[in-house]
Symmetry: D2
Subunit: 412 residues, 4 copies
């Protein structure tokens, strides 16, 4: 039995009206320093460079994921009955804590690290941390159960499905939240109706047939958010500069560690050692941005120029890549302008399928329960999803380089 709060707490939230908290261990987890740190990490990394109001944090998003899991657990017919109280609390906490290991601008930041953020989430949950202690005090088996759910290792697949399938609390919150905070309408779909049409069957979460349209709408919302927001070329340009910045810093350090003396926030990530939990947790966006503003004054011209670009939004321009030759030619132009193409020319590819029926485990697919009780995979029953899955993939490959090298008329 987990201890309840004397009085149920609520937190106002624009997406869910209120976040409801009843268990003490959940309240205490929110107040842990490792979770409070997520206030200092932007949910969408560099996207606020394009959508200026995308300034929300992983903290808010994590509360939202928790709230959706809580509603699944308490409101979806069959879920409560399928789960023990321990499992219910564990999966709510897994929703809350699934992003614990994120660092600043994770996508680019992970390039200079040996591990992904998922690795650090596990480390923080299971290692020497305040949050570990809070969880273990509530139930000694809790930290591992949560880490297992997040890492897809938990034997009860229903729990994983709630946190990270293709119709999970994580995606549902971020689509709605990112749409709200960017001010676009693309990410909207009918969360209430999805929750109302979820059921448990065959030990998995399924959608009733009458909910198919809402799920199609959700799939399209995802598709549009990817192309309109997440893959916006200006965000990718910021990440291109950031990647070069990291690469340059790492190269400088490897050649001469002394050249980065005093840049204490970065050094744990430049060494080849494993980063300690303490150092990892200390790396938040303020640390990162302050470090970047220090780098602006660094004697290395490339490092300081890249830092200046990031701080003042003097980003790279971009062009679509038709074939490999285009890259070779651009490389020449970049160098002709006096830039080191190692750091001043980067290439990336954005690709996204709104729904992948053939990939991943069963627990990540979306399942539909027909009126007659049969259970089918989504693309088998949705004409729209089937059409999209069979359709040609949209993909987009771009190169990024200083605007002064070649005239381009990019969006803002």
């Amino acid at each position: 039995m987990f201890e309840l709060l004397a009085e149920k707490k609520v937190m106002r939230d624009p997406i869910h009206e209120y976040i409801h908290i009843q268990y003490k261990v959940i309240w205490d987890s929110i107040d842990s320093p490792e979770f409070q740190r997520l206030r200092r990490i932007h949910q969408l990394g560099p996207t606020f460079q394009v959508y200026h109001t995308a300034e929300h944090s992983r903290f808010s998003h994590s509360l939202g994921v928790y709230e959706i899991v809580r509603r699944m657990v308490e409101e979806v017919e069959g879920v409560k009955e399928h789960l023990s109280e321990f499992e219910r609390v564990a999966v709510m906490l897994a929703g809350l804590l699934h992003d614990l290991g994120h660092g600043p601008f994770s996508h680019a930041f992970e390039l200079i690290q040996n591990h992904h953020h998922e690795y650090y989430t596990g480390q923080i949950l299971l290692g020497e941390s305040k949050i570990h202690q809070i969880l273990a005090d509530a139930d000694v088996n809790l930290p591992k159960a949560i880490a297992d759910i997040i890492a897809h290792r938990h034997p009860n697949k229903l729990l994983t499905q709630m946190i990270s399938g293709q119709l999970d609390a994580d995606r549902m919150d971020y689509l709605l939240r990112d749409a709200y905070f960017t001010g676009t309408s693309y990410g909207q779909f009918d969360l209430e109706r999805i929750l109302r049409t979820l059921r448990v069957a065959d030990d998995k979460l399924v959608v009733k047939e009458s909910g198919i349209h809402t799920v199609e709408d959700y799939i399209m919302a995802r598709y549009h958010m990817y192309w309109q927001v997440y893959y916006h070329p200006v965000s990718r340009s910021f990440e291109a500069v950031l990647t070069s910045f990291f690469r340059r810093m790492k190269d400088l350090y490897h050649n001469n560690p002394i050249s980065l003396a005093g840049y204490d926030m970065f050094t744990p990530f430049l060494r080849d050692d494993i980063v300690s939990i303490e150092d990892y947790v200390a790396m938040d966006e303020p640390a990162f941005m302050y470090g970047m503003s220090m780098c602006k004054k660094h004697p290395d011209k490339i490092l300081s120029d890249l830092a200046r670009r990031l701080l003042t939004r003097d980003l790279f321009g971009y062009l679509d890549i038709d074939n490999e030759k285009t890259i070779v030619e651009m490389k020449k132009k970049v160098e002709a302008c006096g830039f080191d193409s190692e750091y001043y020319l980067t290439v990336d590819r954005a690709k996204q399928q709104p729904y992948q029926p053939y990939r991943g485990k069963e627990s990540s697919l979306i399942w539909v329960m027909l009126k007659d009780g049969r259970i089918r995979e989504l693309s088998d029953v949705s004409v729209i999803v089937q059409a999209i899955v069979k359709g040609e993939d949209k993909s987009d490959r771009k190169m990024f380089f200083p605007k002064t090298c070649i005239e381009v008329s990019n969006e803002q």
Copy 2:
């Protein structure tokens, strides 16, 4: 030169914030009895039987279409330049007046008539009506120009495209409005962005490439509104009963006209003559509903039973049709219960493709202007739309019959 109002008028509207009116002829048209009559016709016919707040009228919708046309004319780059003042006023009025010929519950009502509502729209605009006089007083050529735009006969295809293409002011208003008034989120799309990305090229309205995602979102909004709202089986059940009601009334009249003496609102539509404009305009929902409540007391058992069903929402049940045999069997059951299957068993098919690239005239397609200036049809450039167009059609055939005949567990 058309006369302007002394002061620009505005009308508050939940979809467009304000409807802006500057021309006297537009203000006067709104105040005409034929247009005011549209306040007394539900925009979505029987849908308020399912979505209880879908109580908005064709009057509101018509103002909304006008407002979108006005914005196209005044804000879309190139449109103003392509059109004379006469054409601009004519197309705004065409937007305002395009639904003038609608009767109550048009879809079903047209079954007992010899003409569609489009025919009556033309009759009212060109015949002896107050609105005709208002328009002709402003410019003698105006009534015909408006009727031509609405009937796709106008030589300037741009005008028709604004009113009735696949991306026109009519559909854009009704999707947003119907979504708002039903309280669903399906019909939402980003009207602002569509207007911002429209241009004129090759004498037609085109969307800039950067607007493709918004148009895809609009296509999906349409698709979902059809299946979730417009084709909702309970609405179709209401229409099924209504159709039988009309059929019965017509049959009674043909056998014995005296039996409908006193039901003056209906008789003009039961005779084989042409319905006069005056009689047509007099037929609004109050007339219709009052007539129906009179029919509830009619000595003919079938007519009075069908009227009672409509007034108190005692609608038919429904079942999917697998093959023709299902219908034959149901017919037997209906008759075994003592019902005349002529009126107590009806069949309908709902079918909708979100976008039809191969059908209709060039002016009804959606055109995209690529970054390099080339113009392509939407399904050529949108991976999503292409996938949908190639996908299997969703279609849905149902039969409707008294619930007491066979137990069915239909949605409310």
Copy 3:
């Protein structure tokens, strides 16, 4: 024990997302002909003449009141405990059915009747009606209990307070709903937070001190809705013409009943007898509007002119009344134009106080529970409400007359 539905029903609603129905007697009441009739009565009477989208019905509003009562009963701490199941079901039904006795354009319509709509609500609930039968079948004491709650006669004042105090489900729904459907923002307030801060103390509903701001906001919302929407001079002008129309019809009938032969929908209301439930229920807006369109062709010039004005929105103009002399002068002008001032000049006064602490019974006041548990009347603890209550009353007296008599530049 009241019978539950096999499956909980929900109805989509833009104000409350969903209306939730669990009891069979409630579902059956919604399907009763007397309740379905409310679909055919506009919630805001003539307001759609000004705010063209205010086309929602008393049906939708009644569902909304029911939903708020349901949430009070199920979610507000202390309410469930204070009430028996019978009382809970009764008060939910009282919320649903409180407007049953409304006729078309009630405010004006009541002028030609001997009774207010409250009287008819009681008659329908307690008399020979389908709804009476449904309620009595569920529990023989139910009809009277519901009628008592609505008529403020029920011994348990908590029940009355939920339906008609100054912070009741009725007002809370109509403010939000009318704001939504007119498209204004004035009526908005935070219903969620009000529900969260309600408690039961001293056998009455009280608001926790932390909810005072939300209640102040609600009081202001009411105030603004009155002046911006409910008392809009164009609505009052429609009512002025309507009142004259009724008066003229009544005068004609009294002088010569034969002159209204064939106008069957009106005659029960013109006789001095009591109107039967059946006749009353038959009078809905379609009957009324169809009757009006018949009157447009009536040989009496005044009656037909007033009907025409109502149908085509050729309403009266209006002016503020400074003193009694203004009226006398206007009377002369109206008659000089050839109008009978008996029907072509009317006077009304709009007056509204956002909150009345000194009037009405204890159960209609708003009570606040301080942090220390003491209970105080709202204006004792809210600086804002106190200021408003002490402030000068806003009142507005106007006269209405044909626009052709005197030039006025009224809003639209």
Copy 4:
């Protein structure tokens, strides 16, 4: 003549749909490092500690103020005519740049400085900065004109009124924006209607009489936002700890500057010299938060404890102050717990009047133009505002102290 952009730029914004930019000097100002820095300052300082989604920046708000000024200048009847192009551009830029001098958590931060943020705004605009250069390049008189408007020194009072009266672009944007990002409904009012009813008369901005209700609504929105959001005791608690943190740091520095060696971001603000523009601009929230995380490890127990409290939201509890004795008693308790009351007990008073008719200059009042053209001050014509102005002031005095000293049951 100011240079226009080749193509009008727009930025998506949830409050205004789009921010529209036409002038090159405005676009360049947005891209200046001093303006980009505002991305790194929270609009509501510590409020995100209570309303977790209040994570928006002064950057977004500044764009919003600019957009409202732009609309005033382009859409309000009379404004365009009253202003030269130079004045129009200057006032739009004043809207954009009015918050340039804000530092992190300004309210508390200003306590350790000798100047308010207004002073720094002037310094940055007129001194050696990139933004100064951009403005001066566009027109040598621009920097001073902008600084004058912001500092209320400009001879054309209309300009000042648009930026900082009691009904100005600044307040209108922040109420709407803060309401949106906190997820509360209190700050909402009808901006569209206010803009529609603004006029210029007597060389000042006035509201037409028909807009009074909207302005009353705006006044109440302000009132509620103050008490529900801006003066929330948890925000004030954060500021209480922050103030103690600053005070402690300053005391340490004055006693022994060496003890803060290495805390470079803070030292310019601890010295008694004037802070240079460069140092000031370098102080953003990342610098501040990183400095705070360094302080967490500082050997001084008080400084490190206060830093820890701020970083992990271990804030002070609070109690209302009844009289001076309460403070004396609390001081004893705090010291009895082993805390230095100099830093662990603070007192503050929140007080706000929704509208002040008697204070400030004429240009800060709200003026109403009656139907007959007379111009009156708002509280002379609004019954509601008059009532509020005459009512008793609401004020709230609290003390803040470590929760461990005395048990308090504060909101979250």
